[in-house]
């Protein structure tokens, strides 16, 4: 029996139900070295001691809630890929997992064993790749300068707020329809997209998902009054939105979010391999796929023409 000794990626599981820990350990232990605990504080100790590649946490736990653990884990071990595994449909927790936890995936309980394994494999693969490169300490030293921020919202107040925050050092553009926003994206490099989920020509979710595949560099801030867990979780998994801010608009929160988004942008430009960590899952909804194909076609036509000439609305 002469097998090569493989270094297994390390996984940390956190859930207040021991039986969940046992079964997940069984599911993953062939491929990974698995650590597990029911206590968030214990999890943080493990994170400090071991180099953990993937952290999978439950949300509702008595000693420390999942989003709090994920937030601390992000600061303690930024290279660790974070996954929330929850059966509790609490929209505030979902928002926290985006804004505080910057998680890689949001998985609902009960989970599909195969899907979970695939997701963990994805996350572990990325973490192993990132491990081999040296990453400047987090957070990045200074936010990006002189970049373009596109605001897609029918509400002029949002544009004005962004303009006021970034206008002196960055270019801020304003569009109210997806078609015109896509025209901008096709013609120039956009760093940050601040968008509503509902604009003049429809729901932007599918566009955001498609854009992340086409332009993985663009970081998205969603600013909307739509708040539902299913939607948020899809936008995490399939669009890797960077921030999800509830309307009514809070200027302070927007300013803080824009600042961290620009820092993140700089970091991703300096160390491109980090973009791996924002890999998205492709939706298998038939309608969404068809729509996504349309958007991609439209984008490529725009790019071929220079941009802007064609009739815009027909694509979406």
């Amino acid at each position: 029996m002469n097998h090569p000794i493989k270094v297994k990626p390390r996984i940390l599981l956190v859930d207040d139900e021991e039986r969940i820990l046992r079964t997940l350990t069984m599911l993953l232990k062939m491929q990974y070295q698995v650590f597990s605990t029911t206590d968030g504080n214990e999890a943080l100790k493990i994170l400090k001691k071991e180099k953990i590649h993937v952290l999978i946490s439950d949300q509702r736990m008595p000693l420390m809630v999942g989003t709090e653990l994920l937030r601390q884990a992000k600061n303690l071990s930024p290279q660790t890929m974070r996954i929330l595994l929850t059966g509790y449909a609490d929209v505030d927790a979902a928002l926290d997992s985006v804004n505080e936890g910057e998680i890689f995936r949001y998985i609902n309980k009960p989970w599909g064993p195969k899907e979970l394994r695939d997701t963990v494999a994805d996350a572990a693969g990325i973490a192993m790749k990132l491990e081999s490169v040296s990453v400047p300490s987090f957070p990045a030293p200074a936010p990006a300068r002189g970049v373009t921020c596109l605001v897609l919202d029918e509400d002029v107040l949002v544009y004005e707020a962004v303009k006021e925050i970034l206008g002196e050092t960055h270019q801020v553009l304003w569009r109210t329809t997806m078609a015109s926003a896509l025209a901008v994206m096709a013609s120039q490099t956009v760093a940050v997209l601040v968008t509503e989920l509902q604009v003049g020509d429809g729901d932007t979710s599918v566009m955001l998902k498609t854009l992340k595949q086409e332009y993985p560099d663009v970081l998205t801030i969603i600013n909307t009054s739509f708040k539902d867990t299913v939607r948020v979780s899809q936008l995490i998994n399939q669009a890797q939105v960077f921030r999800y801010l509830p309307k009514p608009l809070r200027r302070g929160l927007l300013a803080k979010s824009l600042e961290s988004t620009l820092m993140r942008y700089k970091q991703l430009q300096d160390v491109p391999v980090l973009k791996e960590a924002t890999k998205v899952e492709v939706s298998n909804d038939v309608q969404e796929k068809a729509m996504s194909t349309k958007i991609m076609d439209y984008l490529s036509r725009l790019r071929a023409k220079g941009f802007g000439g064609s009739s815009i609305a027909q694509a979406v």
Binding site: H3, R19, L27, G87, K109, P113
Partner: protein, 428 residues
Amino acid sequence: MSVLRAFAANIPCFKPTDTINAVADAFLSATYKNCLSVAIVNEYNQPVGMISRHQLNDIFLKKFGRDLFGERAVSDFMRKDVLAVDVDSSLSAAAAFISANMVFPLSEDFVLTENGCYLGMAAVLHLLSAMEKQISQSSAALNRAYKQLSSSQAQLVQSEKMAALGQMVAGVAHEINTPLGYVNNNIEMVREFFGQIQFIVQAHEQLSDTLLSPDTTDIDIAESLAALDDAKMDMDLTQWFVDLDALFNDTFYGVEQISELVTGLKDFSRLDQAVTDNVSLNDCIDSALLIARNTLKYKVEVIKQLGNIPKVRCTGSQINQVLLNLFTNAAQAVKEKGYLLIKTWSDESAVYVSVQDTGCGIPAENLSRIFDPFFTTKPVGEGTGLGLSITFKIIQQHGGSVRVVSEVGKGTRFVIALPLTQALSAAA
């Protein structure tokens, strides 16, 4: 538009200096044929008195009445507190004034005035029939309003029920979700393991065939052994069996949890039991606690001190509803972490349930209103304000009582008493 104006009969009035005879003659004329009384006005046309046909009769019926009093001024005999109503006053105000001031037997008309001046005479009977008409109209309107109100109240009670049900279902769904998650995963694990075992068994069979076959070479045996080794794939079989055993235990535990919850739901709704029965309140408490477990477990530690209490005749599903409502309220009142103390005891007349929390408490000014329908301090959309009013009604229908004491910052305690012998009024 004045209702009263329509009643004004344009009857000429008299001066205070007119004689009794003059008034009496007038009453005999056609103009005054339908009048019970006439008005006496001053020089500004303001009524200063009134005199009735009845009063004149009294005067003339006296011996030598007409001779003695006929030439006297009417002002000597007239009623000075004039039964006068402003034409713009409402029907009901007019009716109230007239009925309070008219003389019995009914022998007078009343005076209508406008801006204090004489307008005409009106009959009390007209007023009466108008009132009657108005009352029947408003009673029809009241009836309609009552019907609308009771149907919307039924809808509200229904929506409170639905809200409570939704909360309950969400809680139970989450409770089932956790065991379902690991049971499902465990089964998947067992299936994968079963697949591996199949390969290993096949390899074993092949090995035994090889060993038993008369013309087997050493090479064949070595190959079979190697195949078996491949099938084992580095698996530590002993460890796997230990792990699998744990998974089986967990799976059975999980399935038991799920069936306990389903039984709990059935007990809670009491669908398969008589509506009104002899019920143990301790069982009701356990049943409601199971349903509320998800709401409670991260907020409060439940301490039960359940006494040995007799069963009471009640509608179990309603009592469950009451308890669930009190438990969820308690959990909501607790900000971070707290306790929920549940006690039961009994005396010769009643059984008692005390539900006490260490939550935020209820300010004194709210305490008297908590059982009022629609009173709520929860944000819009989170509470209908009907929960406790329904609780109160249910306990009242059971002939029982609800008491509450609360201190802001310390907590709240509800005590429900249900009588041991009672006439259960028709429960809604």
